[in-house]
């Protein structure tokens, strides 16, 4: 499949070379030919009218003298003669007009004549003018030299055309081979990737040309795909792993409930089973929610939101929870914050997750702050606590799905909260920032104020 392409490109290049050279050569030929023919015509006409002038003023005698003078100048190309009405030579250097055949007609033409005393005919351009007594005045030039020059020019131009076609074909083949080999390398990589080997990369020639640019882009794309695949693999692994323990607990509790003889004990075991199942459901729903958010599937549900209203509602909802946990909940929402576009449910869910995290880590008597402010043209919604915080080195891990910093935590949603927060931030065209609150954690959704463009 690739070789015919190379050939096609080669042939195309040859064809283009042929067409452009042919046009050029045609132009040269046309100009030189026309110019030389025009020049001859002019010379012949000039000589003819000069002789005619002599004839009109001095008559036949003067003409005869002028013809012999003209011929006496020694130009062997020159023709000058007076012919009888039937074409027979009277005076001058013409023996006979051979082409076009007799009878003679006035006017300029290209033909053949026989020089007086010569055995062969010569190609000439001549002009015939009828004299008063029916005789013909012939003036002309032999074309031999010009035709030879023209022939040499034509054959050189033809040769040049052949060479340019050949060079075009060679260049085309070379270019096609080069392009083919570079593209072929990419195609080979694509083939092996389609075959499942994601580790393959397109080799770079180091020339920083367009192919290298394309190769680099393809490689970047492959890196991204590989990273996503790795993430997906990790995700399914951790999902399977994280499902294993609650399902195990569920199973153990069901077994215990089956074995229980005491009704109240069985009831409490069944209650535990229900809770376990609910937390499993919650985990699965959150995983799906992250997937949906990352696929940008819910932007059509965006609506205009008042950031202070959003924060106040959540604070109103969580204030009693904070109080029960022995913490203080403070709201910091600047007045007059601009309305922005967002997904109310997902933002509320995200902030409530962040708040839950903060409450888990804030010590009793601590303060958790829910805040909304605008800085550098971006909406910043978030939660700040005075807990242990997350070390800068661990922050990337914290955002990863099922990324666990604290393996002792075993609540169902753990490991997903920050991943969901990041996915929701991405859905809004923003980012999740985990900052040091000195001490504690400041988790901020940084969202563009103008909103993402709605579909």
């Amino acid at each position: 499949m690739r070789l015919p392409t190379t050939l096609r490109i080669g042939l195309l290049a040859a064809l283009l070379a042929f067409l452009s050279s042919a046009a050029l050569i045609g132009f040269i030929h046309w100009r030189t030919y026309d110019d030389s023919v025009a020049a001859v015509h002019e010379q012949v006409a000039e000589a003819s009218s000069a002789l005619d002038d002599v004839y009109s003023s001095g008559g036949r005698r003067a003409l005869d003298k002028a013809i012999s003078d003209t011929l006496g100048s020694g130009d062997p190309q020159l023709l000058a003669a007076v012919l009888a009405p039937d074409g027979a030579a009277r005076i001058g250097n013409v023996g006979a007009v051979v082409e076009p055949p007799l009878p003679l007609r006035p006017g300029y033409r290209v033909g053949r004549i026989q020089f007086r005393g010569a055995a062969t005919t010569t190609s000439v351009a001549y002009l015939l003018r009828r004299l008063d007594d029916g005789e013909w005045l012939l003036t002309g030039r032999s074309l031999g030299e010009r035709i030879r020059f023209q022939r040499i020019l034509e054959s050189s131009l033809g040769l040049a055309l052949a060479i340019s076609v050949l060079l075009g074909l060679i260049c085309g083949l070379v270019v096609a081979r080069y392009v083919g080999s570079r593209v072929g390398a990419m195609a080979d990589v694509a083939d092996s990737i389609a075959g499942g080997d994601l580790a393959q990369r397109v080799p770079l020639s180091g020339s920083r040309d367009a192919f290298d640019g394309l190769a680099r882009q393809i490689n970047r794309m492959l890196d991204r795909i590989a990273a996503l695949m790795e993430e997906l693999r990790l995700l399914t692994d951790s999902l399977a792993h994280d499902l294993r323990s609650p399902v195990g607990r569920l199973r153990a509790r069901v077994e215990a409930a089956l074995a229980a003889t005491d009704d109240s004990k069985r009831d409490s075991l069944l209650g535990g089973i229900l809770q376990e199942a609910d937390s499993l459901m919650r985990m699965l729903t959150t995983v799906l929610e992250i997937g949906r958010s990352e696929a940008m599937a819910s932007r059509n549900q965006f609506e205009p939101l008042d950031p202070a209203g959003l924060i106040d509602e959540l604070a109103e909802m969580y204030e009693p929870i904070a109080e029960e946990a022995g913490c203080t909940l403070n709201v910091e929402a600047e007045s007059g914050l601009p309305i922005f576009t967002g997904h109310r449910q997902l933002l509320a869910q995200t902030l409530s997750n962040l708040f839950d995290n903060a409450l888990n880590y804030a010590r009793s008597g601590g303060t958790v702050i829910l805040f909304a402010r605008v800085k550098d043209g971006r909406m910043r919604l978030g939660v700040a606590d005075r807990g242990p915080g997350i070390a800068p080195a661990d922050r990337a891990e914290a955002k990863r799905r099922f990324g666990r910093l604290d393996s002792s935590r075993s609540t169902g949603g753990a490991g997903l909260g920050l991943a969901l927060a990041e996915a929701v931030a991405h859905l809004h065209g923003g980012a999740l920032e985990l900052l040091d609150n000195g001490p504690g954690l400041r988790a901020v959704l940084v969202l563009p104020l103008d909103g993402v463009s709605l579909p």
């Binding site: 699965l284 449910q345 409530s352």
Partner: protein, 228 residues
């Protein structure tokens, strides 16, 4: 008092479990498995409630719902779906359903929602009517709440919580229903946030009174009633 419910659900096990449970509550249940049959039955207007699985063969649940609403059939519709994300729920509600319940669900949750929807269909929820639950008196217009004539001071959200419970007097209202209908949050906050709010409300309603009025129904939710 039995009502007529149309159940559009292709999973036979779920359908027979629901039909049996709702039958025991005194409702008449007609079950169809195909979306097109469902739309045909739903548009004859003789049902008090439609329970619709979101993914049924023949015609997609949401398309069925839109066709039904386009035909001006205003029967309350409860969607059942395994699609649990916030986005899916909102999509379901926005396509014209009155409630959205995620599978798997507890029968108690379903029953509470069914009863709330059927009651809404009765048209007794005019906002200007005074609501009486035993010795508890609620004036929706002025938002004044009194118990045995003694005014009870409630925060706006507590008032909405109480009004919703009172409008479903004697019926179980689940935590998720409260979260969705009082707070308009369609996600699971995963904490006991509703319990905390209900217990605050209960403290205000019952402090200084002998008789409990806001009851916890174990494993299901809450019920506001003068008697247990």
């Amino acid at each position: 008092m039995g009502r007529k419910i149309l159940l559009i659900e292709d999973d036979r096990e779920t359908a027979s479990y629901l039909a049996r449970g709702l039958g025991e509550e005194g409702h008449g249940v007609e079950h169809v498995e195909d979306g097109r049959d469902g739309l045909f039955r739903a548009t004859d207007g003789s049902f008090d409630l439609v329970i619709l699985d979101r993914m049924v063969p023949g015609l997609d649940g949401l398309a069925l719902l839109k066709a039904m609403r386009a035909a001006r059939v205003e029967t309350p519709v409860l969607i059942l779906s395994a699609l649990a994300s916030v986005t899916d729920r909102i999509e379901g509600l926005e396509s014209g359903s009155d409630d959205y319940l995620v599978k798997p669900f507890s029968f108690g949750e379903l029953l509470a929602r069914v009863n709330a929807l059927l009651r809404r269909g009765e048209g007794k929820s005019a906002a200007d009517l005074r609501i009486l639950v035993g010795d508890l008196e609620i004036e929706p217009l002025s938002r004044v709440v009194k118990r045995s004539g003694k005014p009870i001071d409630l925060k706006p959200r507590e008032y909405r919580l109480l009004e919703y419970l009172a409008r479903n007097e004697g019926r179980v209202v689940t935590r998720t229903m409260l979260l969705e209908l009082v707070w308009d949050y369609h996600f699971d906050p995963g904490t006991n946030v509703i319990d905390v709010h209900v217990s605050r409300l209960r403290r205000k309603l019952e402090e200084g009174f002998e008789r409990p009025i806001l009851h916890t129904v174990r494993g299901a939710g809450y019920r506001l009633a003068a008697t247990v």
